[in-house]
Symmetry: C2
Subunit: 399 residues, 2 copies
Amino acid sequence: MSQYRTFTAADAVEYAREFGGIADPQSLVSSQEIGDGNLNLVFKIFDRDDVSRIVVKQALPYVRCVGESWPLTLDRARIEAEVLQIHGQFCPAHTVKILHYDPALAVMVMEDLSSHAIWRGEQVKGIDYPQAAAQLGEYLAQTLFHTSDFYQHPYQKKADVIRFTNPELCDITEELFFNEPYEVHERNGYPRALESLVAQLRTDDELRQKVAGLKHRFLSNAEALLHGDVHSGSIFVAENSLKVIDAEFGFYGPMGFDVGSALGNLLINYCALPGLLAPREAADAREKRLDDVRTTWQSFAEGFLALAAEKTRDRALAYPGYAAEFLAKVWRDTLGYCGTELIRRTVGMSQVADIKTIQDEVMKAECVRQAITLGRTLILAADHVENIDALIARVRQNG
Amino acid sequence: MSQYRTFTAADAVEYAREFGGIADPQSLVSSQEIGDGNLNLVFKIFDRDDVSRIVVKQALPYVRCVGESWPLTLDRARIEAEVLQIHGQFCPAHTVKILHYDPALAVMVMEDLSSHAIWRGEQVKGIDYPQAAAQLGEYLAQTLFHTSDFYQHPYQKKADVIRFTNPELCDITEELFFNEPYEVHERNGYPRALESLVAQLRTDDELRQKVAGLKHRFLSNAEALLHGDVHSGSIFVAENSLKVIDAEFGFYGPMGFDVGSALGNLLINYCALPGLLAPREAADAREKRLDDVRTTWQSFAEGFLALAAEKTRDRALAYPGYAAEFLAKVWRDTLGYCGTELIRRTVGMSQVADIKTIQDEVMKAECVRQAITLGRTLILAADHVENIDALIARVRQNG
């Protein structure tokens, strides 16, 4: 049994040689730490031709941005690796491949995705990947259906709920998504010019009650093994390819949380584009982003219903028409969680490049204002926005 | 560590002497096995004056009614004892007191309730306990609130979801409640005269979809530590006293399941009374039973809201107005689960004394018909029956 130690660049190379499963391990000679997050070391491992061949990721026992003062369980590396293995079993095309992991070292070895780029960065630059949304919808349909009560035997599902109980990482979401943006909190990060708008969120009774319901369902609705943090920064894209990474927030939760997080990040980009690109390019990119929103939902919904019709194993849930009824619940949740994602990424601590890249402060505040008002609208109207067309119409109305 | 062996009457006496916590253990001299269920041995332990002083309950490793052919986990004794201990912590007045338990022997020692009678038996005889409904509502409010996300720290709640994962007993409910009554199944037990009515349940699309939703929420909504089988046969009553026993089906599930099971059994008695008592007495007893239904719900709902206002610890869920919004969800679930309880107790395997005691076969079939149609109505109308008055009106309309 290995004992935890923080990897050096040389450790990472040696580990990749041993566990990378490549034919010529001695060709691996150097590494570069590329982690931009706060929780992990991420090493790219290069061969003699300076080609990146493999990735070694190690969880740190603390949150890096605040030094060693915020300890965080290393068990999240196990959860991340095992979620990706299960998601990879059901959707190999769009899940990063895990080659090896060691729970004691909190380390995993995975396929190199240097041929891909992070989707968020591409969206910020206005670069379009026309197939990405359909592939993301496919990933969501395959992973959420196959880990749900529709498909899993109740014994297996109950065992997996235990296996993927993730208290510390869920606690981060519970705080950052559902509490802090609606409170006066030192970690919040919105532009000062929006103080009065943000203050209104705190005292909006109907909004706060809806957010309470979304948090309660996050805490109690164990519908499927979620990725738990499907945003544009956890998604690699290339021409005709999409790969989801970074599943350390995985746990059994409400399906609409994953779908809503995905749509919410597309809509944040939509709100940010006027601050990122010249007017005509921004307008074009916004239309593409709305297409992405529509396609992601449609691909998920159609994929889910097709899987439910073909592969549901629970006798009661297999009754014709039930999957569609349940999908309507997922849609309402999706709208709500999409709204909370828009707000937590703008009001809260976890700011995103789409907004941070905007240079002009006045423009930035205007984009953030739009994201917040859209988020608020979606949370409040979640039970009344009938379908994806009605959602797109609401987004356009918002400005 | 003790090893499992099935207790004899003498074993039970010896065990009660050792673990009953009474001042004069040697006064315990005899025992009587009184288990009427199929899963357990239940011994009353008597002293020299032939007074019952203590109860020893042991789980059997199989279902007794089918010999040793249906094995069943002994872990249910641990779950039963620990659910009752937690419920007893929050509602000591109405939870049977557990004095000792041993997980390896699957045995528990508990207070003697010989001064009480099983509520179902009393209802069958038309004996009224005017305080019981309010006390049952109080039990439901205290146990469900204090084990929910309103009150429990998320870490504690997640740990308790694991601790009370109960796959084998939940499997019984999943089959008997939500599958078999809606299928042609050898275990079903309805009167032959009702074949066409029962056949209609199997092909009623809307009903089957609603039942699928209720099963899905039973499988996935971990709202509170349920008793899991709160029916009139799991409740002891005496003048001004009510004690809940038999929590081996306990797990984290939707609150409406416990509340609906409780109301459903009161309503089965309502449906059965014309077959049990003379017409005038039956009419009086029916009014009392409707009062019990009303009082149980009101006592639960008022108790839950009062606790939520005073003691909610989750910052988001504490927002004023949310508890009432959530209670509306519990009400809808309650109506649905009440409906499935009415149907599974009449169409399905788990028949009850209220019905079985009826001598006249024609009358029995008529009472069962009424219970089935009421169950169907409640499942279908769960989203439209606004409050307890509307429920009572629906019951009266049903006949």
